[in-house]
Symmetry: C2
Subunit: 316 residues, 2 copies
Amino acid sequence: MSHYAVGVDVGGTSVKLALVSEEGEVIEQTSVPTLGDESPDATVSQIAETVAAFKKNLKAGDEILGIGIGVPGVVDLDGGTVSYPPNLKGWGVVRLGDLVKKATGYETKVENDANVAAFGEGIFGSGRNHNSFIMITLGTGVGGGIVIGKKIYRGMFGGAGEIGHISIQHDGPACNCGNRGCIERYIGQQNIVDFAHQTVGKFPHSPLARTAEDRRLEVKDLGLNAVKNDEFSIHVLGHVGKLLGVALTSMLHILDIRTFIIGGGVAGAGEFILGPAEAHIKTHALASMRHSVKLIPAVLGNNAGVLGAAAMVYQN
Amino acid sequence: MSHYAVGVDVGGTSVKLALVSEEGEVIEQTSVPTLGDESPDATVSQIAETVAAFKKNLKAGDEILGIGIGVPGVVDLDGGTVSYPPNLKGWGVVRLGDLVKKATGYETKVENDANVAAFGEGIFGSGRNHNSFIMITLGTGVGGGIVIGKKIYRGMFGGAGEIGHISIQHDGPACNCGNRGCIERYIGQQNIVDFAHQTVGKFPHSPLARTAEDRRLEVKDLGLNAVKNDEFSIHVLGHVGKLLGVALTSMLHILDIRTFIIGGGVAGAGEFILGPAEAHIKTHALASMRHSVKLIPAVLGNNAGVLGAAAMVYQN
């Protein structure tokens, strides 16, 4: 007899659902389009139908213990309430946990998606051997989650871990959020591309020079060419790493958490970002704290969300 | 029959000791010079002698439950070990908790002094009605402590709360700590004075113009003149408040803790710093988090250290 949890990751374009074993193995997985413009009942029905299908495939005696859901936005643990999630325009204030429990009969836990992804890495991925760590996701934006003592750190109202909105320059460029000089404003995907476009003039012999001058560069090009020793790509990714290091150093000083797990699409450039980030911390952080700092790549990729959501079910 | 705790605050120039009731009342208080150049045994003897004197004055049946000590530097909870505290040059790695327990017979807890002061404000001062808050001390440097759920948040190795070394400008001026653009580098006492000296040319009619031009200004002059509507003083303190607000906004985004308690000598300028800091947060923090942010002045002043040290004894 085996126990399973259903992990749900509600994204802007698709809802991913997985049946996950206690060891973090994905037994069965599916994805449906997000019906974010419709009432939340549409999403609740999608989840209930998938859970019913997962249940049908179980062997006799096997059991689903519950459902975990990651959603964008701030989540109140009371009733799993989601408030005005960005990208889900048809939702207002939704007691998602209660609705899914009612529709499925299973206990349901709901959490912010970045926190859930961090938790997934913590329980089943790179954080497996770390009690406390900070996860940073580098993609379109810069997201994060903080795990302290194997638990998601939520702060007073569930908003903790908004790492992308640490200001690294008090009089820097305006961010969409209302702040200035946010780290996201420098190393969000589009900002990296913009920086590359501005910088390419200094690297006329780069194989990417033409692409960049034509404003057709993508971040993945930089990773691919850095591996081939392209100085331009190495310079741009090093700049990203250094600025990431500035934000991580401030977090280290505040939290004294020395393990950073770096994930997301941009982090595909790996060592070319992580190396300079770590070098910055080891030369700029307080001497009493800089040793034993570790930056490690996330390993779960796009599955961190469903795995973290399922992991919540297995925790008390 | 009453219970008491002894709170000890080991500073760079004096060691403060107080006998404190469970309600946070200081029953008896004394101060001895810090013998920081000598072996730690000298300090242990000072503590033991004072504790013995406190004990002698107790009424029959009254009891001292234990000793709490705040010291500069990073403290390891194992044996209350202090490692190379700045300003105590005669100390190396010292198991201060064990030494004081052996000399006095009382259970002894040791913690970093900034954390202890934050804890004191939390239990007996401005934080009394707040489960979680961040304390910032504005003085020669910028220090801090984080209290989460009425407990000191220490991080992985006791270094958490180094708030003065959050960088607010990645390419800013070098800080003694090795980092660049640390908030302390802008709003530490001497840096405020330097900024005032640079700025006074724009305020030739200020009553402080002459003092500032002669480079004889002190931060307390600014507070005293701001009250009298001196635009120069209000401008300088507003600048301090705004930059403090930048660092607090980043902390809010990381921790989702919305209560900030501001203490220390510089904070004597009160509303002229706290007002602009709060205004900055309310216009620059994420919309989902900016409401319910509160900045409140610390109330315990120089007694926060001994009171916080004593409060540790009353906690498990």
